[in-house]
């Protein structure tokens, strides 16, 4: 079973998700944590006993490999959160999938004819250069606002949705 069942005549036009920057900083942080025990061991050997017994070496290696395994899995949990937190834009609607952790998600849909306004907010130098911003859709439906924080290239996403809304309104007339 897929999370999105497409209607007849419906096709996916594009996807909008969060910027890779957050994933990158998360990866750098985990890389730092992965190296931390190695640095600590270097300091320990430099200032402490020069001789390290085999038992300590194997035990250290054992716990370090478990540490790396935990970090590896943590990174992919974060990657899953990044990858599945997405707006799926089709020629009929925008599906907002808001993934929070492994077992929590909120899936909401807005039909193109219900979209009233689309706004983009970009604040900061890094955000401007990397094209990171918040995109918000105002709707006429019961849930009157959809937003995606730290979206990748929000201006492009706005243009894509806006042109689909225009086409949809032309087809209605």
């Amino acid at each position: 079973m897929s999370v999105i069942e497409l209607e007849s005549g419906e096709y996916v036009v594009g996807l909008t998700r969060k910027h890779w920057w957050r994933l990158f900083t998360w990866g750098v942080g985990l890389g730092f944590l992965a190296l931390l025990p190695v640095v600590a061991l270097g300091v320990f050997v430099s200032f402490g006993d020069k001789e390290v017994s085999d038992k300590i070496l194997y035990t250290g290696g054992f716990f370090y490999s478990l540490w790396l395994l935990a970090l590896w899995v943590m990174y992919f949990v974060e990657w899953t959160d990044y990858y599945l937190d997405v707006w799926v834009v089709t020629n009929h609607r925008v599906v907002d999938i808001d993934q929070a952790g492994l077992f929590s998600r909120d899936v909401a849909t807005v039909r193109l004819e219900d979209i009233e306004d689309i706004t983009v907010e970009v604040h900061g130098m890094l955000e401007t250069f990397l094209k990171i911003g918040m995109i918000t859709i105002q709707t006429a439906g019961s849930r009157n606002e959809f937003y995606l924080k730290n979206a990748n290239n929000p201006e492009e996403a706005k243009q894509m949705i806006y042109s689909l809304v225009t086409e949809s309104r032309k087809a209605e007339k």
């Binding site: 996807l15 290696g61 054992f62 490999s65 590896w72 899995v73 992919f76 799926v88 492994l102």
Partner: protein, 70 residues
Amino acid sequence: MFTNIENLFNYVWVVYLVFMIVIIFIVLALLYHWGKYAQIKQVKFRFTQVVFLLGVVFLSMLSFAFFIKI
């Protein structure tokens, strides 16, 4: 004191077992999610799945190799 620490090493396998059960649970949860959402972009999912699983298998084998040496 030192003897007590030595004794603790006899129970490392309990820590290892619990840790690996948690890891296997998370791995299965991730694969379930990736499979469920695979319709969106299958190719990238498959590539990521392979890289992820290779990493998990390699690090699990590495930890097991150290474990049997303790």
